[in-house]
Subunit: 386 residues, 4 copies
């Protein structure tokens, strides 16, 4: 039995469950990791609801006060999987208590909050990590490896869209994700944050942007009885939607590439269409999260009569992470990105290395998000703070 | 202006139109062919209908008596694009008159008829060709080239299906294709004939078969007023369907490969699904006529992390036939297989070479078709006459 | 905390791990199941290897003697996830001890063994279940529901292939799966067993078959040091491959449908291509395990201008099992079929119902497998024992 | 034999050949059109080259002076299929001579030229048409019909890219398309012009834009011996590329929809990837020119368990134009868009109606193109002249 790291998780709903799964299953597939996570405590709102979740997910204890969690001496890592408007406060408290921190994306409500959080973790000297879990999709990791190996060459184009459709019904109620005070923004912070991180991971830093935002349905029924996950019930009374329904922007990268980004919740039929394509001087890569076990790859160096995008089923032991799973063609699921994320995180802490992605990545992502918002306001190109 | 070959075409309906298009357009894309076809005469049933067709397709003259066509001294090539039950008679007459012959598939009603036709063309010393037009799909020609070049290696598997659905409606009437005396068989002769020829073209000779036939809808309304093409009207009175609705068979090839074949008109949603896959020791190939400008290709010799079926858009000048057409990605259509077929045919005659595929291929295809029928009758494996 | 069922698992390698995952995670996603599995004991060969696996997968205890497991009073359910040649012996022992049984497929080495096992469980009055886990793919369950709801209508065609390629390298050694005494057969029992069960699940009983088997590579290097999973090392000495590399057969169903089946390990590029298509009078369905979160569906009742196969991303709460998982488009993985299988099994036992599929399904599958083998021997159609 | 319209074509290279094919084959598939085109005269540069082309394509006469063509009394329609920098001059001359005009896209070098041309045709009272041939893809016409019929509902999103890769090789020489004086712009005028027209056709008028342009390879070898089509040879001396290699822009539509556009010649592996997706309140549509016989369609009104994008093979008689072609699944090619365009054009003239799209559409497209160029210059959003 190897060494352990004790984890306390704040948030027991959608993301809390996904993170829990990561801690629960990681050692089953990666038994030789540096530190095995021990699921010490789960904190959330609603005693009964949290109790059930703790039992269901396999947490040793539970509570409703995150400060009590942070106060415990026997917890090494605090995982913040709550709403965006709480990240700063929790991270500051955790850092002050000397805890390592794993935080959901987007990192915070704005750049200023991100900087506060970085100041706190730097002062505390703790490890920090942001949950851009799509870096941990094996196909994405393979894309990165191909780029690093020169198979794509000099990158010309990034073309990223994150298409969803879960609020297209005008009767869908005004959940927290549609209220600016709670969510910060709509699909911009929720989905473009992922695209921006993937673009930074695969292409490089973004230097300037110009964008547009639109709210197609401006009033919705107030929320009735809240229920877990994304389902919800509605009242008759209406309220204002205060976030974007769709945000698009164009970008330039430091390395000369050009890019387009789009996040929307109004693309009917696209349930979770996190898609990107990269074109470089030597080859191209395309990815779609709905078929996350596949990577499309084109090489300009194939013989002229045999060129074309090939569909790589990312399931070989030659592929990142996949040696730990099943034989080729036995696909993994969305939740397994969290297994990989936890694996990376626990290994980094165990080796006394800074995890990746970390708060610096969270900040840079936020700076791009915010530059887009300024651009929308000013109707012009805006430089991204570097 | 190069030398010409004068053509007389018998049959002015579906296949007659497709062949006409081939003659009409070939010199536009292949101006350097050996002999340019001259569209001398079109023969069909129904004076008014044939007259219109001749004008529409660009034939210089027309008639309703195929013997008059064959009797003309100024016709070099007789193209037989009529029902299966007329091929033998017409071919014998054309050969006796010393005409080269281009004949629709399947070659005849049975092996005995095919042998009569071969005896006739051999005696006359004329050129002969069978219209297995799918050999002329550039993607299929590319598949053949890849196999010849060793990219697929030793072939293990042929997996061919030809799926259609145009008679699924029980009210669809008893057209000639559903009557054994006229059509010989159902999808077996109509569609499996194509698959068998493709399998012979790409894999090699078939040595033994075992099969099954089924007629799902055994009675249909008698045909009302006949109309061109595949559309038809129905009467109230019912008649017996005397051909197969679906025929499946397994096969062994002389080179050790194993194969499966299926032709059906009851695969809902598959309009023209002529599909095959070939697996060999070095690679695999897959094709679907509904996406005939594409070839799927897998190489076992790609690096382990980058293996997968690649979708080749067969439109490069590096691809068979395609240098004559448009820039890459500007696709060609089904009818252009006839342009290629005519191109090959006129070149072969111009060079005094036997065209390919020819009556010997037609016979071998018929021998396999007939072996399957015997197998169905006897409920056991049957050797194919070699 | 609900009621529990104590499980003992025999087999700690590939399938043992998959089953373990099912027990471990099921209550996280299906907290309201009738009986929650408790992972009591893991048995396998090799003390050290089993010890590690037990720790890794979360079993409370472990051992190397399956009889000791069966002898324990505190175990309710015996899970047999070992080689095919051991199923009968273990099942008989477990039944004699009054244990419920969950057994890997194929059920046994032959029909006679299956009948012994059924006699044993009937005598003991215990519940029994066979691990045809692909019934538990949500897309497959949806296909079944669509068929039950009449959306496909009268079924005409079943077209199933299970394509793999993991032994194409002639240097791949003679592992147990290639030795008749241990495996019973090659892809026939391994992969056609799955197809047969799916065909029975979705279409109905098979009445007669005709088939062929081929072993493309007849000698292989003897196995060197055995390693877990499918990887293996080779010696210089060669031995005979005594199972099929590929088995194809045609079939008739009791309801009038016709079918084709193919299982091979020589389809280069197809890693885990468990694919089927069903065509009926009202619609069609197509499935590919490599994209197991999708179901292709065609309806003949769509408007004429809008007909086509639609790609359903099976991830809605309206889809079988999927309400328990993540939001739409957040896909699940291959291993989650075992979660569903365990869920069904524990619910059935908890409700004192016979699980499905069970030993009767295992027997029927074996009867078809065996009929194919007789057909190959006799080169003719063979009736399946009903 | 119906009435005829006599055509004179200027331009005998790529587009000249495509237009010729349209005139040559249209009456074969649409025999009942109002006016049958008669191919009177072909004009191009290079006597020998034009003579050959005229013979090959089937023109009755040929010449090298377009003014001679326009001067002929026996020509009704002048087709301008030359470089962008000649359209205005030729159109003005043709209009002055009272000829109907069919002009390649983009209409001219800039908005001012377009307005000159409109003034000329209005003064002359002739019919005019612009060759936005992709409106004539049956799948695109079907998309329009679906939108008109309300199947897509209120449109939220347009997402269009036109991806090519034919100049990615840095050694590809400085052909006329890469020189601003001759081409006006790069893929912006060449490819975005198509996207803009399709967006206007399907979504509506564009009101404001913001864009970016990039030239990835700024110097190229000067052109050696010019050859037809897109192939070319290079010299050692280098020259400046003065057009864009890629142009992206965001847009707002008058009806509230938001859109993104991208045209590039640096998307490796995308040979002719003219793709768009439209999302509306009731459904979505997606198209890819490389699979131009297909339309992807999603309906939000399908039952919850059976929603998904369906692939419509646009080949039914229920689909626009396709009743004139072959049975379902027998696909048409890229060149057949010109057959449809000629069909529409000749019918409009025959019925004394203004063709669609016409010079007003050409102007509106140019206004959007130009607004994007201003936006690139000013780095801000720009209103489109209405």
């Amino acid at each position: 039995m190897g060494k352990e790291i004790s984890v306390g998780l704040i948030g027991h709903l959608f993301m809390g469950k996904a993170h829990s799964l990561g801690y629960k299953d990681v050692a089953m597939f990666f038994p030789d990791m540096e530190l095995k996570p021990r699921m010490k405590m789960l904190v959330g709102l609603g005693e009964e609801s949290v109790r059930k979740a703790a039992e269901q997910y396999g947490w040793e204890s539970h509570g409703t006060d995150y400060k009590a969690l942070i106060a415990r001496d026997d917890i090494d890592l605090v995982d913040i999987a709550t709403g965006n408007d709480t990240h700063r406060e929790m991270a500051l408290a955790a850092a002050a208590a000397g805890k390592h921190i794993f935080c959901e994306k987007p990192m915070a409500m704005n750049v200023a909050e991100c900087k506060d959080m970085i100041a706190a973790v730097e002062k505390a000297g703790v490890k920090h990590c942001i949950d851009f879990n799509y870096r941990c999709v094996p196909a994405v990791a393979l894309a990165r490896k191909m780029i690093d190996d020169g198979l794509i060459g000099k990158i010309y184009h990034w073309r990223g869209v994150y298409l969803q459709d879960w609020i297209m019904d005008p009767k869908f109620p005004l959940v927290w994700r549609l209220i600016k005070e709670k969510a910060g923004s709509g699909p911009h912070g929720d989905l473009n944050a992922h695209l921006i991180d993937l673009a930074r991971f695969l292409v490089g830093e973004i230097t300037e942007v110009v964008g547009m935002m639109e709210t197609f349905i401006k009033k919705r029924p107030l929320l009735g009885e809240a229920v877990g996950g994304l389902s919800a019930t509605a009242q008759e009374e209406m309220g204002d939607v205060t976030v974007d329904d769709a945000t698009l922007f164009l970008a330039r990268f430091a390395n000369g590439a050009v890019g387009s980004f789009e996040a929307t919740r109004f693309a009917g039929g696209r349930r979770n269409g996190n898609r990107f394509e990269i074109n470089g001087s030597e080859g191209s890569i395309a990815f779609n999260l709905e078929r996350m076990n596949e990577l499309e790859y084109y090489s300009r160096n194939d013989p002229a009569y045999a060129q074309g995008f090939r569909t790589i089923i990312v399931g070989e032991s030659a592929h990142p992470y996949m040696g730990a799973w099943w034989p080729p063609g036995h696909i993994i699921g969305w939740q397994h990105t969290f297994v990989h994320q936890v694996y990376n995180l626990c290994n980094s802490i165990g080796r006394n290395q800074m995890p990746s992605p970390n708060f610096y990545d969270g900040l840079k992502c936020q700076q791009v998000l915010e530059a887009v918002e300024v651009s929308v306001e000013n109707r012009e190109w805006v430089k991204v703070e570097q």
